[in-house]
Symmetry: C2
Subunit: 403 residues, 2 copies
Amino acid sequence: MKTVVLKFGGTSVGSIDRIKKVCTIIASYKKKRNRVVVISSAMSGVTNELVNKSKLISNSFNDAEYDTLLSTGEQASCALIAGRLIHNGYKARSWMSWQIPIITDGPYSCARINKVVVKNLKNYLKNGGIPIITGFQGINSEYRLTTIGRSGSDATAIMLAKFIKADECIIYTDVDGVYTTDPRQYKNARKIKKIFYDEMLEMASLGSKVMQPTSVQDAKLNNIDIQVKSSFVSKPGTLITDSKKAFSDQIITGISSTKNDAKITIEGVKDRPGVAACIFKPLSNNLINVDMVVQNISLNGKETDLTFTIKSEDLKKTEKLINKNKKISYKKLSFDKNVSKVSIIGVGMITTPGITYRMFKALASKKINIQVISTSEIKISVLVSAKNVKKAVAVLHKEFKLD
Amino acid sequence: MKTVVLKFGGTSVGSIDRIKKVCTIIASYKKKRNRVVVISSAMSGVTNELVNKSKLISNSFNDAEYDTLLSTGEQASCALIAGRLIHNGYKARSWMSWQIPIITDGPYSCARINKVVVKNLKNYLKNGGIPIITGFQGINSEYRLTTIGRSGSDATAIMLAKFIKADECIIYTDVDGVYTTDPRQYKNARKIKKIFYDEMLEMASLGSKVMQPTSVQDAKLNNIDIQVKSSFVSKPGTLITDSKKAFSDQIITGISSTKNDAKITIEGVKDRPGVAACIFKPLSNNLINVDMVVQNISLNGKETDLTFTIKSEDLKKTEKLINKNKKISYKKLSFDKNVSKVSIIGVGMITTPGITYRMFKALASKKINIQVISTSEIKISVLVSAKNVKKAVAVLHKEFKLD
């Protein structure tokens, strides 16, 4: 008998009708004589409503109370799912994080699941019950409710799968899988059948909204295979798995592009050891994330140019911080909000030479100028003018045979 | 240093602005160097919304899941109150029933509080903290959430006051106290400064909506003085207390009247031992509550007339049950929906003779016909035509010097 963990996101349980639909999906697994564990998020909209209430109460609402407030969302959706399954004749019950318990470490609102005590759950499963477990939350050593950040329900599902030694972990969401590139941007985008953790990590942090990078990281660390599926349409989804488990002849798995990037160039910076650190320290202190960085070779040994990218929402703050930074001197500060980062991702590039060349050649064939380049083992990113993004994605999608 | 328990009802915390107001009230107690324990209901409307969701999921929604679902309401309001108090610079935190714990007995949805473990709460109070406790709920021996029925937050406050040995227990609600009679019906109604448990029990069960009879009974059993106050206006409320504690020269404390009563008369019933039981058994089996009952003396020794009152919503069902009751025979079944019960209540009548006479004389002076009479030690009720209710309340209010 297989044990399967099913996780339903907020939109999947976003209305009474959708909860009924979800219960049909749950029942379909149960009918196959599976042991079924369900993790649910709050009904979509509910969490935002609670967040709004907290903001009206205080512009610096207490973290611990915030977590207690938000935890009610999953409690309600789990009770409704269990109630529906019981109505349909199944043995089911809701389990709150504190009833299991799911034990967390770390600060409120961004805690991490440390341990799941599965003894009672296992007995319940053995007796044919379907536990409906609150995602996104746990209790800390002070016996208080903690939440594990937005999309934390995925993390709950992965940790449940780990501790209960599940055979499968299926994430039901409002998209039907991971695509080679954004299907809204490029009509030839294809669903990826199988993607490796590392590729998914690069996809996620580059703009693919299917799963949060931390959850993918959790799955990778615990070696849990994840299937991402839609709860609205019955179609195969995407398997996220370990690259050691399977061979793939696909070199490039996906192409992602970003919006809302901004490029900053500081010209004529006095070049001395530690100058980059001097520039970036105040940004880091202000939680501004610097992404791509290029520093030109200093020609005269005295001055250099520094270019980097940030989120465009941080642009004003960044300008101010550089202007009032007395530890650096420079000639000119300029910025460009009309830029976008296009990346190709695939573990295949580790063993396949010439990928960078093919990428640059393809872009050149469409006269797309590359402003900044950054690479990792399984990813090559280029910064291009925002007006060229669509064209860039299209030519790369073709070049790497993803169409 | 005094320990005071403050309970806030659903309308008192019915919006963000009202929660802020409630926090001002809580702060005013804390500033007097009191130890303050707060019990809160769910924001008004929230519970009904959850009930509606459960109904859409199933017309026989599981009890245990129902309690888990409804419990989220108080969890959210307590987190919001605690968040506001912290924002205002107070040491406060929300305490869920399972964190304390508040232990209940009995079935889901109408459990009773059995025990409150106050050790941690007492330490917290000693250190100056304000605990904000979820009303209306607890956990049972299976470690699952239970609710204690509508208005159960009053019961939570009373049991907290008992276990924490509070000096005062104040119920903040949307009315500013208990009145001699319904102020909407009779403009000369006065607020009662002090009312005894037994009187309040009669008032409550006769239509006064201030507190549920079970909560008054809890207060009586545990000898907890209750003050009922409005959270909207700052005025003295009503003290509900033990008649042994104080002497009162008031004979009649209040006058209540009902709506939605119906009178049923069965004429020519064959009179034999057990005939009343035969009539009432199927009603009781169908949870129909019979209130006032009058049986005429059987003149010929063979037949009698039986009159009784029920809630008018039960009228159709009652008619059917009597019609198909084969254990009785009678000549005629008639009913009257235009009746109302008017009652005078007061512990003073135990020691004061002539109250019944004064009541009947007053009603007669206004030509109000009495259809049925029922009495207890501290209450006299009469059934009158619905059109006479206002007149009856007015003349009795004057007669017993309540104006």
